[in-house]
């Protein structure tokens, strides 16, 4: 149990470090670049019509307050962190006066749900097929599935989502290609609404699963032969243990541990893919929110979505890490 406590502590420290470094990167990007967001906003706002100098001065001081660009570098840094620690990102400029935090908490469940379902599907299917393909090397069907999965794997999320959009939007229009549920439907816990949500999430989830499956497939397929050569597997085979049991409990069970570590390491990339896919299919999650915020020039919303993304992804990584000891008892024993 003490070993588990030590493991837990190490993971928590890593979580804190990721959040610390990630948010500092966001700070450096917004504050160390030669462009002053305050002057930029002012020049954009005063480009049309006449604005009195007093009004510009007032605008400048309130913008400086909002962007946190007044005072010394240390003051700015402390103010930046202070606001993030209390979760105050100020009001959104494009959806004034709705607080940024409200907009994000509305979008976050859609992204989290989409990612959870598609990641579980891609990871589960990829590992299962990869394990089978590594065990039954001569199976034609599995080889074919492998070629398809590996062919799609290197293509970026955007392109795959775009091709799916064209296929199911123009060529063979059977699935809804935009939104999270049918328009005019009241959100509620009933069959019609849930069905609509599932139908609308099919294409975004499919594009995430299609891209994701290849990596797990390849990883599992290359892990299986090394475990099949281990003494305990050979012993089990000689002892007449059934093939299915060898594959399930001896081979794949042991190969899962590195795959879980791999999952924790790729969550950031999967998140990148999810928010791009959302943009393609007009899914109302963090990705759509971020991109519309950029187009609307909404500084506080962009900062808010970026920092929440960093925190959310590192929290998800922490969760996966905490599940790891369930699969690999050696962590607790040590």
């Amino acid at each position: 149990m003490r070993a588990y406590g030590f493991y837990l502590l190490k993971r928590l420290m890593q979580f804190a470090l990721v959040v610390f470094i990630g948010i500092n990167v966001a700070y450096v990007i917004t504050h160390a670049t030669p462009i002053d967001p305050v002057e930029q906003t002012i020049s954009a706002a005063t480009a049309f019509g006449n604005t009195s100098p007093e009004a510009i001065d007032m605008m400048r001081s309130s913008l400086q307050d909002l962007y946190g660009t007044g005072g010394s570098a240390l003051d700015q840094w402390l103010a930046f962190w202070g606001r993030i620690l209390v979760g105050d990102f100020g009001p959104s400029l494009s959806a004034f006066p709705t607080p940024v935090a409200t907009l994000i908490s509305r979008a976050l469940p859609w992204t989290a749900g989409l990612m959870l379902v598609s990641t579980l599907l891609a990871w589960g299917l990829g590992n299962l097929l990869g394990g089978l393909a590594g065990y039954y090397r001569r199976n034609r069907l599995l080889k074919f599935a492998g070629i398809i999965a590996m062919g799609i794997h290197p293509v970026p999320y955007y392109i795959v989502a775009f091709v799916l959009l064209i296929l199911f939007g123009y060529v063979w229009p059977i699935l809804p290609i935009t939104g999270a549920y049918a328009q005019g439907l009241r959100p509620g816990f009933n069959l019609e609404f849930i069905g609509s949500v599932i139908r609308h999430s099919l294409l975004p989830a499919l594009s995430l699963v299609l891209v994701g499956i290849g990596g797990w497939f390849m990883g599992m397929r290359s892990l299986v032969p090394t475990i099949m050569a281990e003494d305990y597997t050979v012993y089990a085979e000689l002892g007449g243990v059934r093939k299915r049991r060898i594959l399930g409990s001896y081979v794949m069970r042991n190969a899962l541990a590195p795959q879980v570590t791999g999952l924790a390491m790729t969550l950031g990339a999967i998140f990148n893919g999810a928010i791009i896919t959302e943009q393609v299919f007009g899914y109302p999650g963090l990705g759509s929110l971020l991109i519309s915020a950029v187009h609307a020039g909404d500084y506080s919303l962009v900062i808010g979505v970026t920092t929440i993304s960093i925190i959310a992804v590192s929290f998800a990584v922490l969760l996966v890490d905490l599940l790891y000891p369930l699969l690999d008892p050696r962590v607790q024993a040590r």
Binding site: Q14, P37, I159, G268, A269, F271, Y299, T306, S309, I310
Partner: protein
């Protein structure tokens, strides 16, 4: 060197296919130097012409020849991948080799930072960067930032090799001969990790080109520099699919998929080449 290439071409269909596809893409990119049209000029050809013998891939709504536009775009996109790969290789080599050789607390510290960069969601950070830079956003700047964010995974891989190299006798001997850490790492260990550097270069180019295409398609880069993503961006801006000018979108999408698949096949074959067991199995079964 040539023997290795010959063997790879003969026994490894992934390498052969990847090399041929990438070679074709490079030829297309090289054709940009003899392009009859300046890449940035618009209305140099009749707009919206379908593919014909005069305009092989048709022309777009901005009056540009899609084929010649594509040659410049793919050249810029490939160059972007190479620049990001070179810069991020330097960072990952420095971090990976030193962390592996020094070990102890230096290793632990470097790897904590490294793991942080692995899990960070890079896309929102780059969008934030574009948001701040706006019109000052340039191709070179994006390459630099992408390189600074994209070295971590490979640094971990290089470190794992450096860890095992450290226990080899020649490392101890070099240390006894009075070489310092920097000398040992660059003169003794570097040659051993070069094969990994080559495979990770392919993967990294895939990653950075994907990033560039995605950001450009959304309009979050300097869209006036012709790139593959920039072409798709302008096609989307002109609603090319709705007005039926499909060749404007299909051409860059198809070409970029060829780039991705060829780089991926190359990295896959190199990976297998590095592992002597799978190489022997392949040559044996022929």
């Amino acid at each position: 060197m040539w023997n290795i290439l010959r063997d790879l071409l003969r026994y490894n269909w992934e390498f052969a296919a990847g090399a041929i596809l990438l070679g074709a893409v490079i030829i297309v990119a090289a054709l940009s130097f003899i392009s009859p049209y300046p890449p940035l000029d618009v209305y140099v050809a009749p707009p919206d012409m379908p593919p014909s013998s005069e305009h092989w891939l048709g022309t777009n709504s901005r009056g540009q020849d899609v084929f010649w536009q594509l040659t410049v775009a793919v050249r810029n996109t490939l160059l972007f991948g190479v620049v990001v790969a070179v810069i991020s290789r330097l960072i990952s080599l420095a971090v990976g080799l030193f962390a592996g050789y020094m070990g102890g607390s230096v290793d632990r510290m470097l790897m904590s930072v490294n793991d942080t960069f692995i899990v960070l969601p890079i896309f929102p950070i780059l969008v934030l960067f574009y948001f701040v830079m706006r019109d000052q956003m340039s191709w070179a700047l994006l390459a630099l930032v992408a390189a600074c964010l994209g070295w971590s995974y490979d640094a971990r891989l290089i470190r794992s090799v450096a860890l095992s190299l450290k226990t080899r006798e020649f490392t101890t001997q070099s240390a006894f001969c009075g070489m310092n850490a920097a000398e040992i790492v660059t003169r003794e260990h570097l040659p051993y990790v070069m094969p990994i550097v080559f495979t990770t270069t392919m993967n990294n180019m895939n990653w950075s080109i994907g990033l560039e295409v995605t950001l450009s398609v959304l309009g979050f880069t300097d869209v006036n520099t012709p790139t593959i993503g920039g072409m798709i961006y302008w096609a989307n801006q002109h609603a090319a699919l709705v007005s039926g000018i499909w060749w404007w979108i299909a051409a860059p999408v198809a070409l970029v998929i060829v780039v991705f698949v060829s780089l991926f096949l190359l990295s896959l074959s190199m990976n297998e080449y590095i592992d002597p067991r799978s190489r022997l199995a392949r040559m044996g079964s022929g």
